[in-house]
Amino acid sequence: MNFSVVVSQFWPLLINGLALGFIYVLISLGYTMVYGVLRLINFANSEIFMVGTFATVIVSRNFFGFNQNTDPLHGFRLFYTMGLCLLASMLVSGVTAVLVEIVAYRRLRAKGTNRLASLISAIGVSIILQEGVRILTHSVPMSNPRLLRKFSVVTIGDVGLRVDTLIVIVFAAVLFFAVDRFVTKTLLGKAIRAVSMSEETSKLMGINLNRVISATFLIGGSMTGAAAFLYEMVYENTKYNVGFSIGLAAFTAAVLGGIGNLRGAFYGGLALGLTEQFAAAILGTQWKSVTVFLVLVLVLLFKPNGLFGEAVQQTRV
C-alpha cells in the first residue's frame, strides 16, 4: 500500500476521478432510465457508447478530414467542429438506442414474454453490434485527431486543471441536471416517471407507452453518446470493444447508486470514479477492479437498493 502517492497526488487523483466519474454518470443514465421504465438491463448500452465514439472519430476524420498531423483548432472553428462531433455522437447513439428498443425489445414486450427473454435479446444485440463494428473496422483501433489543445486553465496547488478535464466535469454535470429537470418538470418527463411507477395505470391514463419508452431510450442513448464524445475528447482512441469495460463500470455505478434512480446514477458514477482512482493509486492498478466490486458487494449486502437508492426514491425515473 502506498499512501504517500495520495498525499502528493491528491488533487490530480480527485480531479481525474471526478472526470471519469462524470463519464460514468452519463453512461449509467442509459442503464438506469431503461431499467426504470422497463425493469430491463439494457446490456447493449455499452455498444451504444461504442458507436458514439466511432461517430465522433468518423466525423472528425472523414467529414472534416483531420488526422494526427492536424494542429489543434481555435475559436469558432473549434466550437463548431466539436459541436458537430457532439451532435453526431448523441444522435447516432440516441437513434441506435431507439432502434435497439424497436428491434430487440418491443415485440417481446408486446408478446408478454418474460424478462429473461429480453435479457438474452439485450445480450444478443450487444454481441451483434460489437461484432458488426469489429468486422467493419477489421478490429483495428482508431485514433481521434486532437481537436482541442490540452492546456491548464486553473492551477490548484501545484497541479494544473486541464481544459478537457474541466469540460468533462462541467458539461457532464450540466447535462445530468438538464435530464434531471426534464424528467421532473416536463410533461414527457412526468409520463416517463408515471410509466416507471405503473405501466398499467399509465396506459389507463392515456399515456402512449411505446412513445414514452422510445423517448426514454432516446434520452438515455443520447446521454451515452455525449459520454462517448467526452471520452474521445480525453482519450482520443476507440476500438470495437471500447464499451465493454467502461459499460460494465457504468452499470456497476448505476447499481451502486440504486438502479432505476437518476440521482443514484449520479452519486454511483462519482463514487465509482473516485474509488477506482484512489484504489489504483494506493493498492496498485491490478487491485482496482477487485476493490470496486468488493465495495459493490458490501454496499448491496447492507443496502440492497444501492447506496442512495432509498434516499432519493422521489426522483425515480
Partner: protein, 388 residues
C-alpha cells in the same frame, strides 16, 4: 516348418518388402505440395503485428516457389488475434489438418501456451518468429513447448536487460518505473527487466500492473509523477502502450518512455499521437528486413506482398527466417510432420543475410542466443540503432 513353407514365407516376405518400398517411393513421388501455416494476430487490436509478420512468411515462400521446386509450398493463415483464449480454439483445427506439416508461429507467448496441447498431440513442429516468454523453452516450466516449439528470436531473458540498458542510455541518474500489462508476455518481460535492474543496482522507483484494454491511465500517471521517475518501461502491446504514452505526455511528464517488441509498431505512433511518440524507445530481438535483405530478396518481398518496402513493418526478417527453417527441411525431402520435427531439431539453417547460423537447442532456443536491437521514434519515424 518344412522347407517349402519356409521358401513360400521367404518369397512372401521379400515381396512385401519390395511392395512396401514401392509404396513408400510412390507416396513420396506423389507429394506435389505441402502446407505451412502462419499463426498470429491477423485481426484484433494487435492485428498489425500479425499482418507484418505474414509479409516475411509470404516472401520466403515466394522465393522458394519461384525456384521451381518439385514440391511447392502452400502458405495458409490461422488468426489467433494474439489471444490465448482464441488460440486455444484455433490450434485444434490446425493440428487436425493433415496437410499442415509445420507452424510458423505462434506469434505471441500467451497464444503459444494455449496452442501447445493441440500441437503436442498432433506432433506438429512450431518455429515462432516473435514469442519471447522465457518459460516457453524452460524445461522446468509447465508452459514449455518441448519438443515441438522453437523460436528464432532471443527470449525475454535477453530482451529484459536490453530494454533497461536502452531506455536508461544517456539518462543521468535514471529512476525507473516498470509497468506490465498482466499478460504472460508482459509479466515475463517485466520480470526479466526487474531482475536486471536489481542486478545492476539501478534505482527503481515504482511498478504497476495495468490490465490490457484499459482506457484510463490517469491513476498510473499520477503514481509515476509522484515517484519522480524519469524512465518508464512498459511491457505490453502497442494499443495500450500508445494510450499510456499519450496520457503521460498529456500530463506534462518529461522522461524516457520505452517498451519491448510488443510496443514496437508503426501503429504505436498513431495511437499515441506524434508528440507523445517522439523519442520513445523500443527493443526487439529483430533486425529490419530492409537493412538485412539483398536486392533479390527485396524484389521477392515486393512481388509477394505488393509493397515497395518492408520499412515500418516489424518481425518481417524473423518470420522470413522461421519460414525458411521449414523450407530448408522441405528442400531436403522432409514432407511429413515427423520428418520436419527431426530436421528442425537437428538441422543447421541460415538467416536472411545468408550468414547468420540458426541451430536450435534441445528445448527450442537459438544456440548462442540472438541479438536484441534498439529502436527509437525520430521525427515521427521508427529508426533502428543496431544491437543494444
Amino acid at each position: 516348418m518344412n522347407k517349402n513353407t519356409k521358401r513360400v514365407l521367404g518369397v512372401v516376405a521379400a515381396a512385401t518388402l519390395v511392395a512396401g518400398s514401392i509404396a513408400i517411393t510412390s507416396a513420396q513421388a506423389a507429394v506435389k505440395s505441402v502446407t505451412l501455416v502462419y499463426q498470429g494476430p491477423l485481426t484484433g487490436t494487435d492485428a498489425q503485428t500479425g499482418q507484418d509478420e505474414l509479409l516475411g512468411a509470404q516472401t520466403a515462400v515466394q522465393i522458394y516457389n519461384d525456384s521451381n521446386p518439385a514440391v511447392t509450398v502452400k502458405l495458409i493463415t490461422a488468426d489467433d488475434q494474439g489471444d490465448g483464449a482464441v488460440a486455444g480454439t484455433v490450434a485444434p483445427g490446425i493440428a487436425q489438418n493433415k496437410n499442415v506439416i509445420g507452424v510458423v508461429g505462434p506469434a505471441y507467448s500467451g497464444a503459444s501456451i494455449a496452442s501447445f496441447p493441440s500441437y503436442k498431440a498432433g506432433r506438429l513442429t512450431m518455429v515462432s518468429p516473435s514469442a519471447t516468454r522465457v518459460t516457453l523453452t524452460d524445461p522446468k516450466s509447465a508452459d514449455n513447448g518441448y519438443p515441438f516449439f522453437h523460436r528464432v528470436v532471443g527470449n525475454d531473458a535477453l530482451q529484459g536487460p536490453a530494454v533497461v540498458r536502452w531506455s536508461t542510455d544517456g539518462v543521468s541518474s535514471p529512476k525507473v518505473y516498470v509497468i506490465d500489462d498482466q499478460t504472460p508476455y508482459g509479466t515475463g518481460l517485466a520480470d526479466a527487466a526487474n531482475a536486471y535492474i536489481k542486478l545492476k543496482k539501478i534505482t527503481k522507483v515504482g511498478s504497476d500492473s495495468v490490465v490490457q484494454k484499459t482506457s484510463d491511465y490517469t491513476a498510473t500517471v499520477s503514481k509515476i509523477k509522484a515517484s519522480k521517475a524519469n524512465v518508464v518501461i512498459y511491457t505490453g502491446y502497442y494499443p495500450d502502450g500508445g494510450a499510456l504514452a499519450k496520457a503521460l505526455n498529456d500530463s506534462g511528464w518529461v522522461g524516457t518512455f520505452a517498451g519491448g517488441d510488443g510496443v514496437l509498431n508503426d501503429a504505436f505512433i498513431d495511437v499515441a499521437g506524434k508528440a507523445a511518440a517522439e523519442g520513445v524507445k523500443f527493443t526487439a530481438p529483430a533486425v529490419p528486413f530492409e537493412t538485412a535483405a539483398s536486392d533479390a530478396q527485396q524484389a521477392a518481398f515486393t512481388k509477394a506482398t505488393k509493397l515497395k518496402s518492408a520499412a515500418g513493418h516489424v518481425y518481417v526478417t524473423e518470420t522470413f527466417n522461421a519460414t525458411n527453417v521449414f523450407l530448408t527441411c522441405i528442400k531436403q525431402g522432409k514432407y511429413s510432420r515427423a520428418g520436419i520435427q527431426a530436421c528442425v531439431a537437428t538441422g543447421t539453417f541460415y538467416g536472411l543475410d545468408g550468414k547468420t547460423v540458426l541451430r536450435f537447442t534441445r528445448f527450442g532456443e537459438v544456440v548462442g542466443g540472438a541479438p536484441v536491437g534498439g529502436f527509437q521514434v525520430v521525427k515521427g519515424v521508427i529508426k533502428y540503432f543496431g544491437a543494444v
